[in-house]
């Protein structure tokens, strides 16, 4: 055991913290953050805002990749967490509890009609891995099919299916996965067969500049799945819980998946919980094979209490209505800006999941820096780096949308000026 060498670090001595971060996490991450003007310490959070170590206020247009749907530190969710830690704990993960059972029942009411069964994980990738395993286990087939441009997480199955360059460095991943071109009906018709276990897709590819699936294409996929006994897995980790102006993105497309993967929006970012919902038909697999797939921290009793209470807030507040309303206003204002600023070439997305597409990757990066300097935190898409994703809390007000639009306008203006200088 080493002696604690540093002792308590002087509060808000940012340089000291950053140099600690370099030693502990590596120079690379600190470099990446500073390159994107994100090398601050995230301190207080409130509503749609987060504050750095100097008390500078920013609109959180990132929401930790679509986690803070009800805003940062939502009062009632926080109350729920306080209540839960004073009564219960994680519980033994193999055991049953009223907390797990109640949450699952509430989710069955909240999720699209046919989704009846649930399994809980901690991170998104784990939930996607579980979904792929369920599909293989249920169908007895092994082929997992996805489309290009997807981004599902960092764990084995999720990574195998994602368009993530770095995966080449990790050796041979999960075999029998296939990628077909997005929105290509012919390719889908040819590829999906009786050998396929599941088709995995995001209806709005968040990290890929919010590229949207065509309704007709999706319907065709659903019917191909039905014909061949294939499961349809929809990743709603970023699109779920109201983000796109409906409870789930699949509501826009009038389609029922067999499995839905969901993210931390279930607790609005106060407790790490993700998971998947599935139909009662598919659930039979877990009835026949209990405890074949487990998560120590999945179905955590404290997490279940928090998620149950958060669901009630969702039901009462129906933030998807605000997401739809503000999304529309915001989009209109952005479209107007687009006509004035050349580097911005396209706007994609739904509700409060929007993406600005720039002509080049560097433009998008520079734009994010400008936006941050003007009080809005935004990140580029992980798949499409020419895109910048805007995903603020769904509780955002008219005034805050205007504030954000203003900041974006200034950022675009500065970007255009800079471009002229460069040219």
């Amino acid at each position: 055991m080493k002696n604690t060498s540093l002792g308590p670090i002087k509060k808000f001595d940012k340089q000291r913290y950053l140099s600690e971060a370099e030693k502990l996490f590596g120079k690379g991450i600190v470099h990446w953050l500073s390159e994107n003007s994100l090398d601050f310490l995230e301190e207080k959070r409130e509503g749609v805002f987060l504050y750095d170590e100097n008390g500078n206020q920013y609109i959180d247009g990132y929401s930790s990749a679509g986690t803070y749907n009800l805003g940062r530190r939502h009062f009632k969710v926080q109350e729920s967490l306080k209540k839960a830690i004073n009564i219960t704990d994680q519980g033994n993960f193999i055991a049953m509890s009223g907390e797990k059972a109640l949450l699952a029942e509430k989710l069955a009411d909240f999720f699209p009609n046919t989704i009846e069964g649930f399994l809980f994980s901690v991170v998104r990738g784990e939930a996607m891995d579980a979904a792929c395993k369920l599909a293989r286990g249920f169908t007895g087939r092994s082929e997992l099919m996805t489309v290009d441009g997807g981004w599902y997480g960092q764990t084995g199955f999720a990574l195998s299916l994602s368009e993530n360059e770095i995966k080449k460095k990790f050796g041979n991943l999960i075999p029998d996965t296939r990628t077909i071109p997005f929105n290509d009906q012919n390719a889908a018709s040819k590829a999906i067969s009786k050998k396929t276990a599941a088709v995995i897709i995001e209806l709005i590819q968040t990290e890929n500049g919010c590229r949207e699936v065509d309704q007709a294409y999706l319907k065709n996929i659903r019917s191909l799945c039905d014909t061949h006994g294939v499961l349809l897995i929809i990743d709603e980790t970023q699109t779920g819980f109201g983000r796109t102006g409906a409870k789930f993105s699949c509501d826009h497309f009038d389609i029922l998946p067999d499995i839905i993967v969901f993210g931390e929006a279930i607790s609005s970012g106060l407790f790490p919980m993700c998971g998947m919902g599935f139909t009662s038909r598919v659930k039979k697999f877990f009835d026949e094979h209990p405890l074949i797939h487990m998560h120590t921290f999945g179905g955590h009793d404290i997490g279940c209490v928090v998620a149950s209470d958060t669901l009630e807030i969702y039901e009462k507040m129906q933030p998807w209505n605000n997401a739809k309303h503000q999304g529309k206003r915001f989009r209109n204002m952005l479209e107007k800006l687009k006509t004035n600023y050349e580097p911005l070439i396209k706007i994609q997305g739904q509700g409060l999941l929007l993406s600005l597409i720039f002509s080049a990757k560097e433009q998008a990066r520079q734009f994010c820096i400008q936006a941050k300097n003007n009080g809005v935190i935004l990140l580029q898409g992980e798949v499409e780096s020419k895109s910048v994703i805007i995903r603020p809390p769904l509780t955002i007000s008219d005034e805050e949308i205007d504030m954000m639009t203003k900041a974006i306008e200034v950022a675009l203006k500065n970007l255009q000026l800079e471009n002229k200088v460069i040219l």
Partner: protein, 460 residues
């Protein structure tokens, strides 16, 4: 509502919960747990155990969610540390820096042996294993991973591929290629697989789910030598053995062998808020890769601000109260008591093994696992057997346990053994009949017979 930790729950409520659980999670799990008398609702949780909600009966928690409650159940110091964070923090933003993340990482590194000076976070044990294997492959540019037979590392893509039990894998194949399995504890078996094509050797220094098998110091030292010889990275999965469980803060300290990566989860959470981490050595092969690919394993649920505040407090608590020292002393007392019991009941117990408070007892027959879980529940002990190795029962008590509580626990085990003796008087003769013997090895059959035996309550 019926949230079981809250208030009294009636029998009617109980049926409602079981119905809900069966309908929305797994009917099979309800069946499985009921058969093993593990259909217990944990009510008020405190110290080394909990009160069952319906009966109000007190249970000693000898499972601790496979080693999550090292600091005891609902440790008030940790809970109040979490409570203090609410004014400012939530989970935080993935990839961004914050005071809690940096301070916890510093504390963790200072308490880790050797040059284990760097950290990345993960949401769970499995997620941390995913990251560790990715780092090993990415850093070495090699594909091969040597894992161990009977190993248990988790259920997601990489971790399941590294799992040493077919039971958890066979329904989901094909998994990742280039994973090779050595016989745990057998250095010759590793030597046969080691080469300069191998990125990492991954193992639990004490196999937990596999049935409490302890790797000898000699074996671990030789593994380190093999790794150094071929440029292989050594990964210790300390998810269950870390945070004081084995009588030292980290199990690797028993041997003095420093792995290249140490994978942590479970008790890092204080039993109240999920977290996970990989601590790795400050050596160029690893740090270069991470510096070039700083976002190679991002996570939202891992390294959250609230999680890091909790984990920081867990470390403080373990160190301030010398919890690992207590684990060593209490572990020895428990082992001694169990060995005495083994001598008294040679027909039931064939082995007692463990280190610190990571202890396992092995029965002479598989069916005893399920029966014993039931009998232990009757005497007020919550202990789980693995459906996969039902002949071994793991005891992973909270490390805050004291002498009287250990003795009380031993008395309960003794009582359960006596009941077991009566039960075996009826069951063992049946085993001599060939077709019944076949059934007795079948898990599905065990579940149904055990459920029936439980209903009969023939030992009353």
């Amino acid at each position: 509502m019926v949230q079981t930790a809250y208030a009294s729950v009636s029998n009617e409520d109980r049926n409602l919960i079981l119905r809900r659980f069966g309908k929305h999670i797994s009917q099979g799990q309800v069946r499985f747990l009921t058969a093993g008398h593990l259909d217990i609702f944990e009510g008020e949780r405190n110290g080394i155990g909990f009160k069952e909600t319906i009966s109000g009966k007190t249970y000693i928690d000898a499972f601790s969610s496979a080693g999550c409650f090292n600091t005891g159940r609902r440790n008030q110091e940790i809970i109040s540390a979490l409570g203090k964070t609410f004014e400012v923090y939530d989970m935080g933003s993935t990839q961004f820096l914050s005071r809690p993340k940096i301070e916890f990482a510093r504390k963790l590194v200072d308490l880790s042996p050797g040059d284990l000076n760097r950290v990345f976070f993960a949401g769970s044990g499995a997620d941390a294993i995913e990251g560790a294997i990715k780092l090993a492959r990415g850093a070495t540019g090699r594909k091969g991973i040597i894992s161990m037979k009977d190993a248990y590392h988790g259920h997601s893509g990489f971790s399941l591929s590294a799992g040493g039990k077919d039971h958890y894998k066979e329904l989901f194949t094909p998994l990742m290629p280039d994973f090779y399995f050595a016989k745990f504890g057998n250095i010759h078996s590793v030597k046969q697989l080691a080469s300069n094509q191998i990125a990492a050797i991954i193992l639990e220094t004490i196999q937990g789910e596999g049935g409490i098998h302890i790797a000898s110091n000699e074996y671990l030292k030789k593994l380190r030598e093999i790794c150094d010889q071929f440029g292989i990275l050594l990964i210790f999965d300390e998810v269950q053995t870390g945070f004081g469980r084995t009588g030292k803060l980290w199990a690797c300290e028993h041997s003095g062998v420093i792995p290249d990566m140490m994978v942590l989860a479970k008790s890092i959470s204080g039993g109240i808020y999920p977290n996970g981490a990989v601590v790795y050595r400050d050596i160029p092969i690893l740090t270069d890769f991470v510096d070039q690919h700083p976002r190679f394993h991002t996570t939202l649920g891992g390294g959250s601000d609230l999680g890091c505040e909790v984990s920081s407090k867990v470390l403080d608590y373990l160190v301030e109260h010398h919890i690992y020292e207590n684990a060593r002393i209490m572990g020895n007392r428990l082992l001694k008591g169990l060995r005495n019991l083994k001598n008294e009941h040679p027909k039931i117990l064939i082995d007692v093994r463990g280190r610190g408070l990571m202890v396992g007892i092995e029965y002479t027959h598989e069916i005893m696992g399920m029966l014993m879980a039931d009998l232990l529940a009757r005497v007020g002990v919550f202990a789980a057997y693995s459906g996969n190795a039902p002949q071994v029962m793991r005891f992973q008590l909270p490390l805050t346990i004291n002498e009287q509580e250990i003795d009380q626990f031993l008395i309960k085990i003794k009582k359960a053994m006596q009941l077991m003796k009566i039960a075996l008087f009826f069951i063992l003769p049946l085993e001599k009949i060939p077709f019944i013997k076949k059934y007795l090895s079948d898990q599905g059959f065990l579940i149904s017979i055990s459920a029936k035996l439980r209903k009969l309550e023939f030992w009353k």
